[in-house]
Symmetry: C2
Subunit: 309 residues, 2 copies
């Protein structure tokens, strides 16, 4: 099949107009939000989208609102031309790449002094708080797992996804389960805020050796790339053990932490939680998910595995 050239849209109003035109013509719109540096995980979301809708929008936007000033916003990998090339080679392609310049710039409106006040009061801040002040919070789900070490992360994710939903106005949106907590948060947000959007989660795509695909993998040194395999190895082993009858979460977690530590990683958290509410469990009785975040050098990776015993 000939490669399909996506339309590149950078303007919010133009994006919304495109969707409304398509919808008026009877089309349905699928939406795959990304931060770019696309890999097979993203491509699998697009392939999933083709099963549900007949028009597809992919956004490429590194969201400063989900990074704390001390996190890796400035070194987040990007390759826009490479991304476009990849999208052109996807079977059936995509229709639109939405690539806005800055989603937090609002022209000449007056700026309040809230930012200075927040700094003064010692509140956590993201990279975009001078003029923007509206945040969507999924107050319980955002607390645990990654929320503990990244205090503005999920607030930033929920807010930018709300913005993108309001701009792209899709019928169905696709998220990878690699970011499991993010996926559950978006599902809950869509329910609680009554978005007219269906959310679909897609399974984790892994390299042949088991490493969960992530844009951050490119930042791993060859040695740390090898060490990072310990995460999926630890999760797979826990799943097998659980299926064989080990339902004591403390045992499963300790074993996984040991595996990762011995490989040279540094575990941020390793928790076995309920699949929907992400509440920690002590004994596996219902479907759970084992979530891990660990550092390898200066790169923090997340991975997880659902255990449906």
């Amino acid at each position: 099949m000939a490669a399909k050239e996506p339309i590149i849209i950078r303007d919010k109003d133009e994006m919304r107009k495109w969707t409304r035109t398509m919808r008026a013509q009877g089309h349905t719109i699928g939406f795959v939000p990304t931060m770019g540096y696309l890999h097979e995980g993203h491509i699998s979301l697009i392939q999933e989208a083709h099963k549900h809708t007949d028009r597809i929008v992919v956004s490429i936007y590194v969201n400063p609102g989900q990074f704390s000033p001390n996190e890796d916003l400035s070194t987040y990998p990007s390759d826009f031309q490479g991304d476009i090339k990849k999208l052109k080679s996807v079977c059936n392609g995509v229709d639109v790449v939405f690539n806005p310049k800055n989603l937090y710039e609002y022209g000449n409106s007056q700026i309040g002094n809230g930012y200075e006040r927040n700094i003064k009061e010692g509140k956590v801040v993201s990279c975009v708080e001078s003029d923007h002040e509206t945040w969507v919070r999924v107050e319980n789900l955002e607390k645990g797992l990654c929320g503990k070490s990244r205090p503005v992360f999920f607030r930033g994710v929920a807010t930018v996804v709300t913005k993108l939903f309001n701009i792209v106005e899709p019928d169905v949106a696709f998220f990878g389960k690699k970011d499991y907590q993010q996926w559950r948060i978006i599902q809950r947000m869509v329910r609680d805020l009554d978005f007219g959007i269906k959310v679909i989660g897609s399974d984790i795509v892994r390299e042949n050796d088991g490493l969960a695909m992530s844009s951050r993998n490119v930042k791993l040194s060859p040695e740390n790339r090898q060490r990072a395999l310990s995460i999926s190895r630890a999760l797979s082993r826990a799943k097998v053990e659980a299926e064989k009858g080990q339902v004591n979460c403390r045992e499963l977690i300790n074993c996984a932490i040991q595996t990762i530590n011995e490989a040279g990683g540094s575990v941020d958290y390793a928790e076995i939680v309920e699949q929907e509410n992400l509440e920690p469990v002590e004994t596996i009785k219902t479907p759970v998910v084992f979530c891990v975040a660990a550092w390898f050098g200066k790169v923090r990776l997340v991975d997880n595995m659902e255990i449906d015993v």
Copy 2:
């Protein structure tokens, strides 16, 4: 003109479907959110809506999410049949009354233990926190004025308006400037979250004697109804004084508080703030708004006056 009978819709999906059908036919949708017990202030919003869009939805929904458990949710006045009668008599009428039963009920999904945790941690809660956990916060604008004495109020307002926007999907939405802080918060939220919706604020409608129209006025005893006139009297006097050259806010505020106190009211706050960011000012140099909240018996009233010197 013959009275127009509005369609009454109670179901979210049916509401969204109606708007999409209308939009596909080339119509534009105006939206007037209300908590019912309609008065001339609401009617003026509908009349304003007729100038901007050719289809009009009025929602009638008392939002439990903006009430603390100790506030007046249970005694908030309501008269659905009377409201419908009033809407039928409005010039050109309205097309739809959206009157959902409960916007915070989501079927059989699992409930997390966040509510219990929030109570235990002594967090402020609204009347709907068992299963719902996503809140929209306009973090700076929500802090002052009414936000000080009603800690969950604007969080609840921003959230329910987001929900209603996502269900009704209007082109233009209309809010009364009587709730000045609410109007500014919704404007900011629409900007920050990129809603494809225009927000229009309508001037306060007053009774002949100056009392700002409010659904809560019906709860005033005849004596307190008379005492409550002191608010608009105090605001009008401040406006005249400012126009005559009195730019010292402390003086203007003290005088207003004295007027209301002497009439038998109890001032919750009286502040002169910038019109857009609602930051308190000491000296009037740019357009400001004088905002007051005061109790008369068990009824808390708000009023304000823009001063454009």
